[in-house]
């Protein structure tokens, strides 16, 4: 005897959705196998019995109720009809944007650690009355500074820069 019908073959057989070749093969087996034949017959009867379970017909008011819901839907804001996941994502995005805007509008409270406020060191005048603020070497260095050099003539008027220096040095 050939192989019994496999479980995935029974329903397509009953639905007549097998190829001719497959159907002939199964028919040959069914002709010889009482067990498969009995099962097939019971399954066929079952499909008939299941057909007795009737469902209700739509009520006459179905279309009107659907229309009312469609109109109600049309009046709602767009976001109301979003799927919950999309609505949550949208809400999250809005919160993120608002948060970003708020963050940018508030001056930063964090920054470099505050520097200890120590009074500027008082430099005692050097012996000889020279102001250590700008010495001869400093004047030369000032000439290397393009900004100072550009305004040299103006700066020259500020005696404090050059007051302690001698006349010769000043003519550098």
């Amino acid at each position: 005897m050939s192989e019994h019908l496999r479980e995935e073959e029974f329903i397509p057989y009953l639905d007549a959705r097998l190829s001719d070749t497959e159907r002939r093969r199964l028919d040959l087996h069914l002709a010889d196998c009482a067990a498969c034949r009995a099962r097939r017959d019971e399954l066929r009867a079952l499909l008939g019995v299941l057909g007795e379970w009737e469902a209700v017909e739509p009520s006459p008011g179905f279309d009107a109720a659907l229309q009312a819901r469609l109109e109600e839907e049309a009046q709602r804001p767009v976001w109301f009809g979003l799927r919950p996941a999309y609505a949550v994502a949208l809400a999250g995005a809005v919160v993120a944007v608002i948060g970003l805007l708020l963050w940018r509008s508030v001056p930063p409270t964090t920054g470099p650690p505050p520097v200890a406020q120590t009074p500027p060191e008082v430099v005692e005048p050097a012996p000889g009355g020279e102001t250590p603020g700008l010495q001869a070497g400093d004047e030369l260095a000032a000439l290397d500074n393009p900004v100072l050099l550009e305004n040299y003539e103006l700066l020259e008027e500020f005696d404090i820069l050059f007051e302690p220096a001698g006349k010769e040095e000043k003519k550098l």
Binding site: E7, L47, V49, A55, P58, S59, F62, A65, L66, L70
Partner: protein, 193 residues
């Protein structure tokens, strides 16, 4: 040449709201039947069917005709039904149902009996109740497979896509479901009411 469901959907996408009415007209009853056999309550089945069509309407702009329209429609209906089962709407509907219908069978309760004896009607109602209970007792996926196969007559490829399984797995699933039903409903198989 007849306009296909996909074409109606594409027309709806283009702004033709009459196309939506055509689809509702065509699928109103199948969707309600399917949902009724899951929730067993008329008003809830209709409410859920409205939700299904609302989702179709909402999705019109993003609709892409990749699968058959019925596959897409019944996938939506399946999701809506399962959500209703899980959020307890079915239980609440049963508790509050005041309808004069026999919700276990879907048949109106009749006092007058113009076509048959009262006893005959009761026997038929009892058979329907047994069938409903046997189907209801199936595991969820098997139950959905039976409803889509036996009552909605969708093809294997569609059901497999809706239930997210292979065709081969679906055929085995159906066989196991029908085998269970065959055993449970054996008393009904030999004798019709």
């Amino acid at each position: 040449m007849a306009t296909s469901d996909k074409d109606w959907m594409l027309r709806l996408q283009g702004g033709d709201t009459l196309a939506f009415n055509v689809l509702v007209e065509k699928y109103r009853a199948p969707v309600i039947h399917f949902l009724y056999r899951i929730v067993h309550e008329t008003a809830l089945a209709e409410e859920l069917a409205q939700e299904v069509f609302l989702r179709v309407y909402r999705a019109r702009t993003s609709y892409r005709p990749r699968a058959k329209f019925t596959t897409w429609l019944f996938r939506i209906a399946t999701n809506v039904a399962l959500n209703a089962l899980r959020d307890g709407r079915m239980r609440r509907a049963r508790e509050t149902s005041l309808e004069g219908r026999e919700e276990t069978t879907g048949a109106p309760v009749e006092v007058a009996d113009p076509e048959g004896s009262v006893e005959q009607k009761m026997l038929e109602a009892e058979r329907r109740a047994q069938i409903r209970q046997a189907v209801e007792a199936l595991p969820e996926k098997q139950r959905l497979a039976v409803l889509l196969h036996k009552y909605q007559e969708l093809d294997y490829a569609e059901i497999a896509e809706i239930l997210d399984c292979s065709e081969s797995a679906l055929k085995s699933l159906l066989f196991r479901a029908y085998e269970t039903l065959r055993v449970r409903l054996r008393p009904l198989l030999g004798a019709r009411a």
